[in-house]
Symmetry: C2
Subunit: 193 residues, 2 copies
Amino acid sequence: MSQLRYPHLMATDRDSVLEAAVGILSRRPTAHLDEIARAAGISRATLHRIFPGREALILEVGALGLRRFSAALDTARVEEGNAEAALRRLVDAVVPDAALCAFLAGENQLYDHEEINDLWELQDARVRALFLRGQQEGVFRVELSAAWLSEAFFDLVAGIGWAVQEGRLAPRESAFSLAELFLGGALRRSDTP
Amino acid sequence: MSQLRYPHLMATDRDSVLEAAVGILSRRPTAHLDEIARAAGISRATLHRIFPGREALILEVGALGLRRFSAALDTARVEEGNAEAALRRLVDAVVPDAALCAFLAGENQLYDHEEINDLWELQDARVRALFLRGQQEGVFRVELSAAWLSEAFFDLVAGIGWAVQEGRLAPRESAFSLAELFLGGALRRSDTP
DNA sequence: AAATAATGAGACATGAATGTCTCAGTTGCG
DNA sequence: CGCAACTGAGACATTCATGTCTCATTATTT
């Protein structure tokens, strides 16, 4: 196989196909391989040469999403400093891959794959830990469980991904909109703490 | 057909099947009809007798979701009184049907059906109008667009539906968690306005 | 209790998406 | 220039969900 020959080039090639696939799959998870191949600018035959089949493709999309999300957590250094600042850094880091996260959130078929599941659990735990830490530091509200804060955060990231992809939200506004709504809520306040 | 014979009984029967279908479809939109039939406690043959086919079933699930959501908007009287109070009423009214809304949010296949699309647009406009009114009244933040507030609200409703369905959130906490996070955000505040 | 209707189980055909193959055209590299 | 690898287009078989049908069983009504 060629990926053994040109590992680096092949990796970016695979990733570019995967990103094209996300663009289609995040909207319609049942899209035909034909459509995905066309979106990636390659033929169905080549798509099959890169990924053994649909299942493998979906799996790799999930793996890519988790890699990106993991990298975003690293970039944002979520374990360091003030919890609110850490979350804002996470928002900035994750917004570019929001579409990928939207796919992850909606695709529960991946959850019977052990390796993917473990990796997801790992990243999810990091996010939950961030909220728990923030609650202990008195930064985040304690009336809302850390699990729900984490869940809601993912939901809104996915929502950002969908909204941007369908042109309902300007990409430049996305990070601000996500951070402000999630952290500050919808209510107007006279004094900003 | 029997629905002509016992219109009322048949309606509730249909709805109960549809609700069972939502339980499966909101998680896995590609679930086989076999699985849906078993979840509804009927055979695949009977499922076919009630709904001509998969497409018809999906369509009716969407229509049910929109009926419920429309009814929730009516029940909450979203056009009346203080916008914040109206939204809190809406949360209470919509939470019982959160799973249905989660399906609606994720199912973009319905959007090429004119009747469904129009009905959806109507309800969506009511929600947007609520946020716009709230902004004009000085209740909701103006830095976030009404469109995004509406989008985010749907995302969180869907998230509530998923979380409850998968046991990650207690049903009794769901309305509180949704309203508090959406309205107040994740940040702890010294004074509650 | 008899008759009628509804249901469930299963067989069967159909169609669509997938997986596999071949071959001609293209690109890239020596 | 020539060779090797890669790609795209298409044909083909296969698989599987769907749609349709029949028949025995159950329930419902009269």
